[in-house]
């Protein structure tokens, strides 16, 4: 397994390298950051000064090699618009996104697995049919619209939850997060629910399909024949088996939610990473875009690694070394 992990990490360095080149030159093609940054009244002298100050007056390949050289030393460049190191900017925004994603996963998994299992266990009951109809809504309603509806209902009409923004942060064991203050949790609930809906629907469907398939397998019949209680069969043996596709899908979802919760973060004015990347793209803030995507690559690589390791835990037939 160690060999497997090391080999994976080596591969990811290649991915990082390719990613940096694609993004660097891609942003260059889109437009000239100087034009976006300067005051609309800026004359030639001011434009030249800005280009020089930001190192944009050099040929793009020179800029790229300068970037690579600094990157190897751990410096991913300074944001054009904020004037602070891009990586610091990203790390500042990270906790807000992480807490949002964590709560949305708790909602999705905590509700999705039981509901899905029930729908798979009693597929013809009225409850199961309601759950499945609800999950179709979860899939098909656009996140943007659902977010606005949640705000209209809970914040504008009923006025029981805030319309957006991150609440005050509390601290717990030295960690600062709005997870640790009641008002903060209030602020978290609607955006997290909004973010969770799609995943919730996904988990319900996966759990139901897995449940229906697994219940028919011989080992379930054997366990029942052996006299095990149905409760034990379902919650120990079946649950473990239906988790494999769920873990795969959630792993993929986790990465993309950390990186690109743009819609939810925008609608709820949540100061997370998704909002940062979209604003940086609008302003052609290249150092932030590049650093951001590199961070995201690292996150994806790590998540996939964890998912692979989890497979081997859930299913002893999976051998990591063989797969690599």
């Amino acid at each position: 397994m160690t060999v497997f992990v090391i080999r994976r990490l080596m591969q990811s360095i290649l991915v990082l390298f390719a990613m940096s080149a694609i993004v660097f030159f891609g942003v260059y093609v889109v437009g000239d950051p100087v034009e976006i940054l300067v005051s609309h009244e800026a004359d030639e002298a001011e434009r030249a000064r800005v280009a020089a100050a930001l190192g944009l007056d050099r040929p793009v390949w020179v800029q790229y090699f300068a970037f690579l050289e600094n990157a190897l030393g751990g410096d991913l460049g300074k944001s054009f618009v904020f004037g602070i190191p891009a990586i610091q900017l990203i790390l500042q925004r990270m906790p807000a996104t992480f807490e949002l994603v964590i709560v949305s996963f708790v909602i999705a998994v905590g509700l999705g697995i039981p509901l899905g299992m029930y729908a798979g266990y009693r597929p013809n009951s009225a409850g199961a049919k309601t759950i499945m109809a609800g999950s179709i809504l979860g899939f098909s309603l656009p996140t943007f619209w659902v977010g606005l509806m949640l705000i209209m209902i809970f914040a504008v009409e009923m006025q029981i939850l805030p319309a957006g923004g991150r609440g005050p942060v509390g601290s717990f064991l030295g960690m600062q997060s709005s997870l640790f203050s009641w008002t903060g949790l209030g602020h978290l609930f609607l955006p997290a629910l909004n973010l969770a809906l799609f995943k919730l629907a996904l988990v319900i469907r996966l759990a139901r399909a897995g449940m229906r398939e697994t219940l028919l397998l011989d080992y379930v019949k054997y366990a029942r024949a052996k006299g095990l209680a149905m409760r034990r069969v379902v919650f120990v043996h079946v649950l473990k088996n239906i988790m494999i596709p769920i873990v795969t899908v959630l792993g993929l979802e986790l990465g993309s939610q950390i990186a690109f919760s743009v819609v939810t973060e925008t609608v709820f004015a949540w100061p997370g990473m998704g909002k940062l990347i979209i604003e940086s793209i609008d302003k052609l803030d290249r150092p932030v875009i590049v650093a951001y995507l590199l961070v995201i690559v690292v996150i994806f690589v790590l998540i996939n690694l964890v998912v692979d390791v989890l497979y081997s835990v859930l299913d002893p037939r999976v051998r990591l070394a063989a797969k690599a």
Partner: protein
């Protein structure tokens, strides 16, 4: 008597509403939350010359000259100013003003500020443009300062209204020290409490402020870039005022009894720039798709025809929800230097066709017009409407919109990729020499920096040069009239409309709306 009674009743009702709202909204009587529409990148007042940054910085820092809500210069940290001769300005500074850290404000702070402005490292857009006219600074006494300029600089007081004065102690403080609050001790009506990038800026009242004391003890400026989110936060009572009210929500906001709208004619013109420079322009073709030589847009008659083909009233009525004014010049009536003789062109498609025929294009031509889709109020819709209007006048028009980041770099110097483009221009100085200099003057050093059509007219240039060297306001105004009348007669660009700036507040709160689009907590007050 009756009216007075009604007012009292209304006042009581409002007070009741407010009191009942206060429980839900949280903040107490002296706390204000504002919904700001754009991201603030720094509180260093000299780092990035960008409207949202300047807006926030104006809470903490004062200028020598303060613009009022109609962008007329008035006293700020300077009580008065006058010209000693054509190239010397003398400013008398206010006495007894203290910085937030308790130190006294004197001429040395002005000197330090002028030194810091061009120095700020990594500044993506500096305020050098506002100070470069000054050649030498002379401190006469701690409260009198003289600026020697290279050439006559009638606009110097206005330029200085964009330069925020920092404490001399912090002349070499880096931007990070301002963001953290360490160096952010200005003389302004509010003290900085906290700056959380992408989320909020928090202020508390400066009780020692020299000017009118702000009403609010604590102010939170929340960054709500999404239009729907900003409106929802206001409706939910989480913010008491929002700026940049989206047109789509105007009807429902007007109908909401809990809210009030505050409006003023803004300094922003929405217009079309036309490539009147190249002999062959990339997006004009004949009906067979072959380039036309010479470029029809070089002919003033064709430019006039395009202007007459536009139904400005329809755009204002249907797309802008009536919150705009059809434009015939570079800046709305009421600003300095706006000629009373300039009126918006009427909608006259027949005359447009006649002019096109006279210019040798009886069957029109093929045209693609470009514009941004994320920059100005309803930009994409306006461009589509204009495209249809052109088509009706016989010009086969295609519309292409792009994100601003792409559009701006393609449309501008040195690429100049487009033939006809929709752009907006807010006059930072609140007077006409500003758009004349940037949009109409021949492209050259310090001139025509946003003249994306590269229009050029020697007479207009000469009049503008003369105006910019004339210190006497009356004489300068006449020269600006002449220059803009000439440019408009020649249709240097096609003005569409002037925007109206709108704020929405909870009932019981008023705002003195500003032409410069700023949202300043010191001017938000309970009714």
């Amino acid at each position: 008597m009756n009216a007075a009674l009604r007012r009292t009743a209304l006042g009581l009702a409002t007070a009741g509403l407010l009191a009942s709202g206060a429980f839900v909204t949280g903040p107490g009587a002296q706390e204000l939350s504002m919904g700001i529409s754009a991201s603030v990148t720094s509180v260093d007042p000299h780092f990035h010359n960008l409207t949202p940054n300047n807006n926030i910085a104006s809470h903490v820092f004062d200028r020598l000259v303060h613009m009022d809500e109609k962008m007329r210069p008035g006293p700020g940290l300077a009580e008065s100013w006058k010209t000693i001769d054509d190239t010397t300005w003398e400013f008398k500074l206010r006495k007894g003003v203290k910085f937030h850290d308790g130190s006294d404000f004197t001429a040395d702070d002005v000197v330090a500020t002028l030194k810091r402005v061009p120095w700020v490292p990594n500044s993506p857009s500096s305020f050098r443009l506002n100070t470069q006219a000054i050649e030498k600074v002379e401190v006469v006494d701690p409260h009198t300062i003289r600026f020697k300029t290279k050439a006559p600089a009638p606009l110097l007081p206005i330029d200085l209204s964009n330069v925020r004065i920092v404490n001399r102690k912090f002349v070499e403080a880096p931007t990070a020290d301002f963001n953290s609050g360490k160096a952010a001790a200005g003389t302004g009506p509010f003290k900085l409490v906290e700056f959380v990038p992408g989320d909020r800026v928090v202020f508390e009242r400066n009780d020692a402020y020299w000017g009118p004391k702000p009403h609010w003890q604590k102010v939170t400026a929340r960054i709500l870039t999404n239009n729907a989110a900003r409106v929802a936060a206001l409706r939910a009572g989480q913010v008491q005022i929002i700026e940049q009210v989206p047109s789509a929500d105007l009807a429902s906001l007007r109908a909401d009894a809990n809210l009030t709208l505050h409006r003023i004619v803004g300094n922003r013109l929405i217009y079309l720039h036309l490539d009147s420079f190249r002999d062959e322009t990339p997006f004009v073709q004949d009906k067979d798709g072959k380039p036309i030589k010479p470029n029809p847009l070089k002919d003033p008659r064709v430019r006039k025809a395009l202007s007459l083909a536009i139904n400005r009233a329809a755009i204002v009525d249907r797309l802008m929800e009536k919150e705009a004014i059809p434009a015939g010049g570079l800046l709305a009536d009421g600003f300095f230097g706006v000629s009373p003789n300039l009126k918006a062109d009427p909608f006259d498609p027949d005359q447009a066709k006649k002019l096109l025929a006279a210019a040798g294009h009886p069957n029109g031509f093929k045209l693609t017009i470009h514009g941004p889709n994320d920059r100005y109020l309803n930009d994409e819709k306006i461009l589509q409407a204009v495209g249809q209007m052109f088509s009706r006048a016989g010009i086969d028009t295609q519309v292409a919109t792009l994100p601003w980041s792409k559009f701006a770099s393609d449309a501008s110097n040195p690429k100049y990729s487009f033939s006809v483009m929709l752009v907006g221009w807010g006059s930072d100085t609140g007077e006409v020499s500003n758009p004349l200099r940037s949009l109409v003057a021949t492209v050259g050093p310090g001139r025509g920096v946003s003249n994306r059509g590269r229009y050029s007219n020697k007479e207009v240039d000469a009049l503008l040069d003369q105006a910019l060297a004339t210190v006497d306001d009356g004489k300068r105004e006449k020269l600006l009239w002449q220059a803009s009348e000439l440019a408009m007669k020649d249709q240097a660009l096609i003005p569409l409309h002037y925007q109206i700036n709108i704020w929405a507040t909870r009932k019981g709160i008023t705002y003195a709306p500003r032409a410069d689009e700023n949202t300043l907590a010191q001017f938000v007050r309970p009714q």
